[in-house]
C-alpha cells in the first residue's frame, strides 16, 4: 500500500538533471526551450534543476570528452535510486561529427553507464525530447522502486 502510493507520487514528479559531457550545446539550447510557455515542461510534473543528488532522470548531451570519462561515472553514482539515463542527440549515441580521426571524444555513453532511452537528431526537436522523457520516465522510475523492496 505504502509502496504503491510512493509509485503514484513518483510518477507525477520527475526531477531532471542535465549533464553536458562535451557537445556543441545545441541540444542544451533545445532543452532550455522546454521551459518556454509553448512546451511548458513543468505542467507534466517534470522539474529541471541540474542537481544530480536530487535527480530521477539524468539527461546526457554531448560526446564524452577526455575529462568526462571518469566524471560521468561519478555523477551517475551520485544520483539516488531509482534512476534512469536518457541520451539527447546524436553525440551520446555515436559521437556524431566529432567521432573522427583527430577528435578526442569517447562516444558512446552506453560504454560507461547504462542508458534507458536514446533520442537521435542533431539536435532533436523539444517536442521529441519531451515525448521521450514522458514515455520512459514515469514507468521506469516506479518499476525500479518496486524492484528494490
Amino acid at each position: 500500500m505504502f509502496q504503491s502510493l510512493k509509485n503514484i507520487v513518483r510518477k507525477s514528479s520527475i526531477h531532471v538533471c542535465i549533464v553536458n559531457c562535451g557537445g556543441c550545446n545545441g541540444c542544451d539550447v533545445e532543452l532550455v526551450a522546454l521551459f518556454s510557455p509553448r512546451y511548458d515542461i513543468e505542467q507534466y510534473g517534470i522539474y529541471i534543476h541540474n542537481n544530480p543528488r536530487e535527480a530521477d532522470v539524468l539527461l546526457i548531451t554531448g560526446a564524452v570528452t577526455e575529462q568526462w570519462i571518469h566524471n560521468i561515472k561519478r555523477v551517475y553514482s551520485k544520483v539516488p535510486e531509482p534512476k534512469i539515463v536518457v541520451c539527447v542527440g546524436n553525440c551520446p549515441i555515436s559521437g556524431d561529427v566529432f567521432n573522427q580521426e583527430g577528435g578526442t571524444v569517447h562516444a558512446p555513453v552506453s560504454n560507461f553507464i547504462p542508458v534507458a532511452a536514446e533520442i537521435s537528431g542533431c539536435p532533436p526537436r523539444p517536442s521529441e525530447i519531451l515525448n521521450a522523457i514522458l514515455s520512459t520516465g514515469p514507468g521506469a522510475i516506479s518499476n525500479r522502486g518496486r524492484e528494490r523492496k
Binding site: V19, G22, N25, Q67, R74, G102
Partner: protein, 371 residues
C-alpha cells in the same frame, strides 16, 4: 575561502568551473577552469574537403551556429576572390540577424533566471519561440541549419515565407517594449543589476572584451560596420553604453533586438532578384575573415590546398569575454549570488571557447584535473 561552482550547477547551462575566493559573503577574486568540452574540431578539419568541414564549423557552437558557417564560407570566398551573389548576401543578413535576436533573448533569459525573476525569464523564452519559428521557415531547421555553402546559400526563399517572417517580427515587436519597461523600471531588478559587476573601458580594452559586453563598457566596436553587405546596402549604427554594469549589458542586448528587426525589414524590402549560389573554384592560399557573431568577433584563419583545408584556426568571442569576466567583473562583487548573475550577463558559451587542451605527455594522458 575558495568556493567552487560547477561544472554541474543549477545556474550554469554548460560545464565550467568557477572558483570564487570569498571572505564571508563577499567575492574577492575569481578563477575559471576550462577543458570540459574540448573535442578537437580544428584537428579533425585538417585534410578534409570543405563540404565536410562546414558541418564541423557549424558544430563549434550551438547557439550562434549560423555565424560560424557564414564566416567559414566567406573566408574561402575571400581566398578564391569571389563574392556571393547579392541575393544570397541579403538572405545571409536576414538569417544572421534572426540568429542574433534569438541569442540575445536566450542570454537575457539566463540572466533573469540567475536573479530569480521567473516572469521575465518566461517572457523572454516565449518571445524567442517566435524567432525560432521564423528561422525554421527560412532555413528548414531550428538550431543547426546547414544553410550556407561556399558561394551562396542552399535554398531560395519563397514570397509567402518572407510575409510570415514579417508577421512573426511584428508579434515580437508588439511585446518587446513592455518587457524592456518591466526590466528598466522594476525597483528590485534595478537593485540586483545596477552597479553590480562593473567593468571600465580601460579594463575592457585590457581584457579584449568584444561584442555587447565590450560595447556596454564603452568600446564602439561592431564588425558589422565593416562588412561589405552592411556598408554598401544597409543603414546601421552600433549601439553602445558607458556604465559597464549588469544593467548596461542586459539593456545593450535589449536595444540591439529592435535594430536587428529593422535590418531584417531593410533586407526584405530591398531583396534583389537573381541567383542564390555561384560556382566557385577554390584556390590555394591563406585567408582571414572576421564577422560579428551575437557574442562578438569571430575570426577564421584558413590555409587551403585546392579543395582541401590544410590548416585552420578559429578564435571565438567567448574566450575573451569569459576571461575579462573572471578578471574584472567578478572582482569585489557583494555576494555570491550576484557573482553568478554577473557571470550569466557575460553570456558565456563554453562550447565556443574550447579550442586547446594542454596535456602533460611525460606524466601520461590522465593529467586532466579531476572534479
Amino acid at each position: 575561502m575558495i568556493l567552487p561552482i560547477g561544472p554541474i550547477h543549477p545556474s550554469l547551462k554548460e560545464p565550467l568551473r568557477l572558483k570564487l575566493k570569498t571572505k564571508g559573503e563577499k567575492v574577492l577574486e575569481a578563477e575559471i577552469d576550462y577543458g570540459y568540452v574540448h573535442r578537437g574540431i580544428e584537428k579533425i578539419m585538417e585534410g578534409k574537403p570543405w563540404q565536410k568541414c562546414i558541418y564541423l564549423a557549424e558544430r563549434v557552437c550551438g547557439i550562434c551556429s549560423y555565424e560560424h558557417t557564414q564566416t567559414f564560407a566567406e573566408t574561402l570566398e575571400k581566398i578564391s576572390d569571389v563574392r556571393a551573389p547579392l541575393r544570397a548576401q541579403f538572405l545571409r543578413v536576414i538569417t544572421n540577424e534572426l540568429d542574433r535576436i534569438q541569442s540575445h533573448y536566450l542570454a537575457n533569459s539566463t540572466f533573469f533566471k540567475a536573479i530569480e525573476h521567473e516572469t521575465l525569464f518566461m517572457y523572454m523564452l516565449s518571445q524567442r519561440e517566435h524567432i525560432m519559428d521564423a528561422i525554421e521557415l527560412l532555413t528548414g531547421n531550428r538550431v543547426n541549419m546547414g544553410w550556407n555553402v561556399i558561394g551562396g546559400v542552399r535554398m531560395d526563399v519563397k514570397e509567402i515565407h518572407l510575409k510570415q517572417i514579417l508577421e512573426k517580427l511584428e508579434a515580437v515587436e508588439k511585446n518587446h517594449d513592455r518587457y524592456v519597461g518591466i526590466f528598466e523600471n522594476g525597483p528590485i531588478v534595478g537593485l540586483r543589476s545596477k552597479k553590480v559587476g562593473r567593468m571600465t573601458k580601460e579594463e575592457a580594452l585590457k581584457g579584449r572584451a568584444v561584442g555587447p559586453i565590450g560595447r556596454a563598457s564603452g568600446l564602439k566596436h561592431d564588425l558589422r560596420e565593416k562588412h561589405h553587405t552592411y556598408c554598401e546596402n544597409l543603414e546601421f549604427k552600433p549601439i553602445w553604453r558607458k556604465k559597464g554594469d549588469n544593467f548596461a549589458r542586459t539593456m545593450n542586448r535589449f536595444n540591439e533586438i529592435p535594430q536587428s528587426i529593422d535590418l531584417i525589414r531593410q533586407a526584405i524590402e530591398n531583396l534583389p532578384e537573381g541567383n542564390i549560389r555561384s560556382d566557385v573554384e577554390i584556390k590555394s592560399g591563406y585567408g582571414e575573415w572576421r564577422n560579428e557573431a551575437p557574442r562578438g568577433e569571430v575570426l577564421y584563419m584558413v590555409e587551403t590546398n585546392g579543395n582541401l583545408i590544410k590548416q585552420i584556426s578559429i578564435r571565438t568571442p567567448s574566450i575573451m569575454n569569459i576571461d575579462s569576466c573572471a578578471k574584472y567583473m567578478l572582482k569585489d562583487v557583494a555576494t555570491v549570488t550576484d557573482a553568478v548573475a554577473t557571470y550569466a550577463t557575460a553570456d558565456p558559451c563554453i562550447a565556443c571557447a574550447e579550442r586547446v587542451a594542454i596535456l602533460d605527455m611525460d606524466k601520461g594522458y590522465d593529467t586532466y584535473k579531476l572534479l
